[in-house]
């Protein structure tokens, strides 16, 4: 079984998609010869040509809007938005057009566009390069939103996203691009269902839900907690819309405590949605209020202080202490 980075796994997933599906194509800024600013599309233009790996003008609304048109013509465009903070010029096309096309045509039109967005902080970058805007999209019906946390998932989830008949926003945890892992390129195994959450670690005292870049942090926090005698269950959500509430509910019924961690600000975020649903589904099983560990209600801070902004092991353990002490 080959070992590769998340970036390479997405690259291989895209290569497999382009080989398999002649209607699939990649579009984005600098994705051709350069291979994208993170080299996720490295080498693909050489292999598939510039009609299928398209260097676009520098215009995000243009990328998404023309991708919609290509999809209406029967193509499967995979768009790369260079950085999270640059998706907003395309926000109108995504929310008013892409998300609604299938519904407003009574199912006569499909627009299976995939939008890849490197997201999240922790790379010491400049303004607009470290954001986590997933909740803004999750609030929009018609979109599917996923985020892999490891190479194997990345390899399969990107292919499944392209195969989906619905538009998918594929959030790539950019600070984990170089995280290596084994990838079974023959069988997806547990990754067979794009929208299924995975229990990565069994535990009995509390459940930690995370996705994308914070999954390794949650696992590390669970290891640290174990040294203190606390058994944490860790769930990798994988899919942000829809959310696999069944897996989370089942876990919380067992542990009685839930902590949700994401880099995005907690207010109006995915964690709040999970907290509300779980309080409906497992209220009598809860030993403590559901807690969130996330970003503050502020513009993403400057690089020199981002470590104090981003949820880390200690922030998760602090929430765990509060939950256990309740």
């Amino acid at each position: 079984m080959p070992t590769m980075t998340i970036a390479k796994a997405i690259n291989e997933g895209l290569r497999a998609t382009l080989s398999k599906n002649p209607k699939s194509l990649l579009m984005g800024e600098d994705i051709g010869k350069l291979g994208g600013v993170y080299r996720v599309t490295d080498g693909l233009i050489k292999e598939f040509g510039e009609d299928r790996v398209v260097d676009t003008p520098l215009a995000e609304s243009g990328i998404i809007g023309t991708a919609i048109g290509l999809a209406l013509r029967g193509y499967k465009p995979v768009c790369e938005i260079q950085f999270d903070g640059f998706v907003f010029p395309g926000f109108n096309q995504i929310t008013t057009q892409l998300a609604k096309m299938h519904a407003r045509s009574h199912g006569q039109l499909n627009v299976p566009v995939v939008i890849r967005i490197p997201y999240g902080g922790g790379i010491g970058s400049v303004e607009h390069h470290s954001e986590s805007p997933e909740a803004l999209f999750a609030h929009t019906a018609g979109l599917r939103i996923v985020s892999p946390s490891n190479a194997h998932d990345a390899y399969w989830m990107i292919q499944q996203s392209v195969e989906s008949k619905d538009p998918v926003i594929f959030f790539e945890p950019k600070r984990r691009y170089w995280l290596k892992g084994e990838v079974d390129t023959q069988e997806p195994g547990l990754a067979a269902d794009l929208h299924k959450a995975h229990v990565l670690r069994q535990g009995t005292d509390a459940t930690i839900v995370a996705y994308g870049p914070l999954v390794p942090v949650a696992l590390a926090a669970a290891n640290a907690a174990e040294e203190d005698g606390h058994s944490l269950e860790v769930i990798d959500l994988r899919s942000i819309s829809p959310i696999d509430f069944d897996t989370v509910t089942e876990s919380v019924k067992k542990t009685g405590r839930l902590i949700i961690a994401h880099e995005a600000p907690t207010f109006g975020g995915i964690g709040g949605e999970i907290a509300a649903r779980i309080s409906e589904r497992a209220f009598l099983h809860l030993e403590a209020p559901v807690l969130r560990v996330g970003g503050f209600h502020m513009p993403y801070p400057v690089a020199k202080v981002e470590e104090d902004y981003l949820p880390d092991i200690d922030r998760i353990l602090e929430a765990l202490d509060r939950s256990l002490a309740y």
């Binding site: 215009a59 609304s61 023309t66 048109g69 290509l70 209406l72 013509r73 029967g74 407003r104 619905d166």
Partner: protein
């Protein structure tokens, strides 16, 4: 694979752009049939006009009369409370019928929301246009049946869809040729309709950049009807909109939008240009929205009656009628038949609209996603259970 295709330095087709001379904004425009109903000449486009058979010319008139009558009926239906809103097109018949009739079945059209005349030329059942305005659908027809996309209400968003669709046509053509098809296999073009107001939207700019870079087979058809609701086109642009094409590196043509013959000629030329792989064209059809923006608008607040009157003198139907009669191409019987057909259409529109049944909210759960979605399923299940709690209440009330 070569490098990204760029427009040739000579900008082929620019001979049709001679209405734009030098750096000075020009108001010169292509006109063949003047307001007096007399046919003039144009070095490029007269050849296209000469191809028109009398039957086609009569057809133009019949279409324009039909869509105007349709517009009146829809307006009446709105005034009577049967439609929530109506978006009248009166005054723009020539721009829409002339351009729509220049398209071929394999072409694909992306309208804004006032293109009822274009819909007619694409054989869309006009009754279906009213469904959206009665509040029973956000679509109304199957776009793939006549290659006529749904109306788009977020201005200019569809111009990008049009360019993307045209990029798809390019790839399909290449694939067809790679598989041994003829040079003409799969030739088609896309028309993106928008207005002077929408021309200020960033998506129009981006769509023109993309279309130009990839030489996409798309015709940008801008109906400059002089107003974006109340704001005059002078606030959107200080130069004729057609001039903007030059900045993107493709031909731009300003045409008298009330001259159906010229509009048809110019659009045919542009579509041929696009289908032949020469890239996009911008057409600015210079016209006037004689009525209100919508039935919720009040033009008396922002323009003078005299201005409206001066445009009524340039009426697209009257000038064609004058021409057809003068040339002996149509007689009283023809015009009487056109009127009768219009009344029949109006009665059909009225009948079908009044028969339209409101859908159930349940239908709104159906196509949020193309594939099964647990949240939608859960909410629908809840709604069914909730609704079941009211069963019997209606009977009780009725009793």
């Amino acid at each position: 694979m070569g490098s990204t295709q760029l427009p040739a330095p000579g900008l082929e087709g620019m001979q049709a752009d001679r209405q734009i001379v030098g750096d000075e904004p020009s108001t010169e425009m292509v006109q063949l049939l003047g307001p007096d109903g007399k046919l003039g000449a144009d070095p490029v486009f007269s050849d296209y006009a000469k191809r028109l058979e009398p039957e086609q010319l009569r057809g133009f008139y019949a279409d324009m009369a039909k869509i105007r009558r349709f517009d009146q009926e829809a307006t009446a239906l709105q005034r009577q409370g049967e439609l929530a809103l109506w978006v009248p097109l009166t005054g723009q018949e020539a721009a829409q019928i002339g351009s729509g009739r220049a398209t071929q079945p394999q072409d694909y059209i992306f309208p804004t929301y006032r293109e009822h005349g274009v819909a007619l030329t694409r054989n869309v059942d006009l009754a279906e246009l009213l469904r959206q305005f009665r509040g029973i659908t956000n679509g109304g027809w199957d776009p793939n049946e006549n290659n006529f996309h749904l109306y788009t209400l977020v201005l200019a968003a569809q111009t990008l869809h049009a360019v993307g669709y045209a990029m798809g046509i390019q790839r399909d053509q290449k694939a067809a040729q790679d598989q041994g098809g003829s040079k003409d296999a799969g030739k088609a073009a896309v028309v993106a309709y928008f207005g002077d107001g929408a021309s200020s939207e960033g998506d129009v700019h981006e769509s023109m950049v993309f279309a130009s870079s990839y030489k996409a087979p798309v015709v940008f058809f801008c109906q400059n009807n002089h107003y974006a609701i109340s704001v005059p086109s002078s606030v959107q642009t200080r130069v004729p909109l057609a001039n903007r094409a030059k900045g993107y590196g493709f031909p731009g043509i300003r045409v008298d939008g009330n001259d159906v013959i010229a509009v048809h000629a110019v659009t045919e030329w542009a579509l041929e240009h696009a289908r032949e792989g020469n890239g996009p064209v911008l057409i600015e059809a210079y016209t006037y929205r004689v009525g209100a923006h919508t039935t919720a608008d009040d033009p008396t607040k922002y323009r003078l009656k005299e201005e409206e009157t001066s445009w009524r003198d340039k009426d697209p139907l009257e000038r064609l009628e004058t021409y057809l009669r003068a040339e002996g191409l149509a007689d009283d019987d023809f015009f009487a038949k056109v009127k009768a057909d219009g009344d029949e259409l109006a009665s059909y529109i009225r009948r079908t609209t009044l028969e339209l049944k409101a859908p159930e909210i349940r239908a709104s759960f159906e196509n949020v996603y193309a594939e099964a979605h647990p949240l939608v399923a859960e909410e629908l299940a809840w709604f069914e259970e909730y609704s079941a709690g009211f069963e019997g209440d209606e009977e009780e009330e009725a009793n």
